[in-house]
Amino acid sequence: MSQRQVLQVFEQYQKARTQFVQTVAELATRPQNIETLQNAGVMSLLRPLLLDVVPTIQQTAALALGRLANYNDDLAEAVVKGDILPQLVYSLAEQNRFYKKAAAFVLRAVGKHSPQLAQAIVDCGALDTLVICLEDFDPGVKEAAAWALGYIARHNAELSQAVVDAGAVPLLVLCIQEPEIALKRIAASALSDISKHSPELAQTVVDAGAIAHLAQMILNPDAKLKRQVLSALSQIAKHSVDLAEMGVEAEIFPVVLTCLKDSDEYVKKNAATLIREIAKHTPELSQLIVNAGGVAAVIDCIGNCKGNVRLPGIMMLGYVAAHSENLAMAVIISKGVPQLSICLSEEREDHIRAATAWALGQIGRHTPEHARAVAVTNVLPVLLSLYMETESSEDLQVKTKKALKNILQKCTYLPALEPLLHDAPPNILKHVVGQFSKVLPHDSKARRLFVTSGGLKKVQEIKAEPGSLLQEYINTINNCYPEEIVRYYSPGYSDALLERVENYQPIL
């Protein structure tokens, strides 16, 4: 009898513990409860429950801890300071798969907030156990372990190196080949986080044979998987020419172009980023992309998107055009310039506008043909207004000024230069006037047009220091016309005429 009563006490206690831990885990899913939980000291209560005899209580306690640590980094620090991690790591090696999933969840939740917390996780030896979890048969355990490793490797290069040294990369590549889509996603995202820091890490990932599998997975219909795969490939390709060439050898073109037409915004953005990272290294790679029709696809993609999603596409056009004039001409032929000028007028964000201005400058700076193609779309006044606006950021002003300078130095299309005469500040004006002074002496029709459109009048009104370059240009222009006309248009001519009328003695 008394034995049953004694056992009943224990049963009640176990039931109470189970209920407590399950309720806390439920409450921790809602963010508004977490503050209250923290103030009530839930961390110190959950800690001994991790060592509980009953496995379910252990697992649920770990799950609750994970949800708490996930919420903000103070709680994650409290988890680290409470010496919970060594216990978790130790049990991770021995327990069943539910506990492993929960413990890996806690490690992920702690490691995602800051590099110091991730370093704390590495210091307590969690990496080896996580890598052992990657060998497990259950895909959920593999996913949790891969997620935790990805979050740890995200912060900086040393942590990535630690993850690679623990031997995670070949196992991650194996995980990518698994049929489970979620596991593929997480493994691809972990590889992307590892390879983004330095060329050596990217080379390690490539040596494990990741590129072939990643390239195959571009064809997968799942949108989130495609995002991660494209991001991983672009992080690998961005470091050096060899890595980019390896990416290209894996025959990602022209498959990547179909990703540019995907309905998911981020897939388009990551595909554009990948193409940009490949295009920026050498002219040959850009040539390859142009020959595959990549430029047209990117231009269409820019037309369909809005906002930040456009940015990698715009930069890709700039990089392609920067390499050589033939490539810039290819961009022009693919109807890139009208699209870029639409972007310039539509977008409101300064960094996107700065990138567009830079790209236009790279296209227009090669020869007068290119400058003409850029100037015809009436984009020069827009650039000028962006340069003059006081609200533009410094970066935007610098980039628009450079773009304007580069285009103007080669522009011989006078109708586009006319509006600039009226509004430009002196440092831009001298380029505009310089171009006029180069073209006008040789072209009589242009001279006539210059006079009738009021350009000559405007030029006379410009005040320049004698001996400066601007004055020389003005003199060259004035020398193209007969003296009377120059005097007619010089300011104050009407006053001079009236003075002459006043001083004239009529012949009676």
């Binding site: 999933k101 060998e135 489970e180 044979g209 072939a212 195959q216 390896m246 172009l257």
Partner: protein
């Protein structure tokens, strides 16, 4: 004597004449001398001048001939150089013409072939159009697939609804909600309800057991999986230069099949299984299943004799009964005993299986 006297009378006058002559001679000696000197000097001068003139003439002739010779030599040289310069200019000009044509041809053909560039740009725009068309078709196809999928989902949802609400079907007597008598033909939902098979109660219960609260925040829901694909072969690329490892070694390392650690490879309940195994073996080898009981009647009346060494007149020594070893509790550092079971050391699992040959006997 008379002659003498005459001579003497003439003599005195002669002595005056003689003195007079000598004096005049002396007087004019200087003048005459000077005159003679002058005449002689002038004559000598004429002779020397004539000689010099003669020498000059000769010199002029010699120099004339010499200068003529030098001048003609110089002129010849000038003519030669002028001719040479003329030739070189001509050659240069011709070379310029050749190089002009060659450079124009070469650059126009190989460096900046305008027509090839034009063709290339046209080809690019044609290619772009093709790519754009294909991408549009692809996007359209995707759109259509998505629409189809959405339609199918809608259909499935509606069917599911119909199956759940099968009781809304109209009967002979009572018209259902979807079969209003004022309508000309029944609502499509009514048709669905007619076709639907109602759910059984057991299925409703089964749904409740499905929630697994730990795995709901992970999206891998399938159970055990195995890697089904073989690892892909490497992308063909140029062999890197340099003394590197043997390819067979590298390939062996790179395509090593998965070697799970011993801990992973053993099943979870290997301990229980082993115990079962031992029990079964013992049962097999036993002849008699009855437990061997000691002969209790033998020693029924005997008292127990304690050991001499452990008993004293004050009672038994605790050694042998309460404790067996000497233990000094005050010397202990920690409260815990030694651990007897440890987790396996992962580092040693890697021995002999890593790439580097560290530690192996050469």
């Amino acid at each position: 004597m008379a002659t003498l006297a005459r001579l003497q009378a003439r003599l005195t006058g002669q002595w005056e004449e003689y003195f007079h002559r000598n004096r005049t001679v002396d007087e004019y000696r200087k003048v005459e001398h000077n005159a003679a000197v002058q005449i002689q000097s002038w004559f000598r001068g004429c002779r020397v001048r004539a000689y010099i003139r003669y020498l000059n003439k000769m010199m002029i002739i010699i120099q004339k001939w010499w200068r003529g010779y030098q001048g003609r030599k110089h002129f010849r040289k000038m003519v030669e150089t002028a001719y040479f310069i003329m030739k070189m200019n001509f050659y240069n000009e011709m070379a310029v013409r050749i190089q002009k044509r060659w450079r124009g041809y070469y650059i126009r053909k190989y460096i900046h072939n305008y027509y090839a560039l034009k063709k290339y740009l046209e080809a690019i725009s044609v290619n772009n159009d093709i790519v754009r068309k294909e991408l549009e078709e692809f996007a359209e196809m995707k759109e259509r697939e998505k629409e189809k999928k959405d339609l199918e989902k809608e259909e499935k949802k509606k069917d599911h609804q119909a199956r759940k609400m099968h009781y809304l079907l109209s009967t002979e007597q009572i018209a259902g909600v979807y079969n209003s008598p004022f309508r000309q033909s029944p609502d499509p939902m009514e048709v669905r309800l007619r076709k639907a098979k109602p759910f059984s109660y057991r299925r409703q219960q089964m749904k409740k057991h499905f929630t697994d609260e730990i795995s709901d925040w992970l999206t891998c829901t399938s159970t055990l999986t195995f890697p089904s694909m073989k690892p892909l072969p490497p992308i063909g690329r140029q062999k890197p230069q340099g003394p590197f490892r043997d390819t067979a070694e590298v390939l062996q390392q790179r395509y090593k099949p998965l070697e799970p650690t011993l801990r992973v490879a053993t099943s979870i309940n290997s301990l229980e299984k082993a115990r079962e195994e031992i029990k079964r073996e013992e049962w097999r080898n036993r002849i008699n299943d009855n437990k061997f009981l000691p002969f209790s009647s033998c020693h029924k009346n005997q008292d127990y004799d304690p050991l001499i060494h452990t008993s004293s007149k004050y009672g038994q020594m605790t050694y042998g009964i309460k404790h067996f070893r000497e233990e000094h509790y005050e010397k202990w550092i920690a409260n815990k005993d030694f651990e007897t079971v440890f987790p396996s050391i992962n580092l040693f699992n890697k021995f002999g299986q890593t790439y580097s040959k560290a530690g192996q006997i050469v």
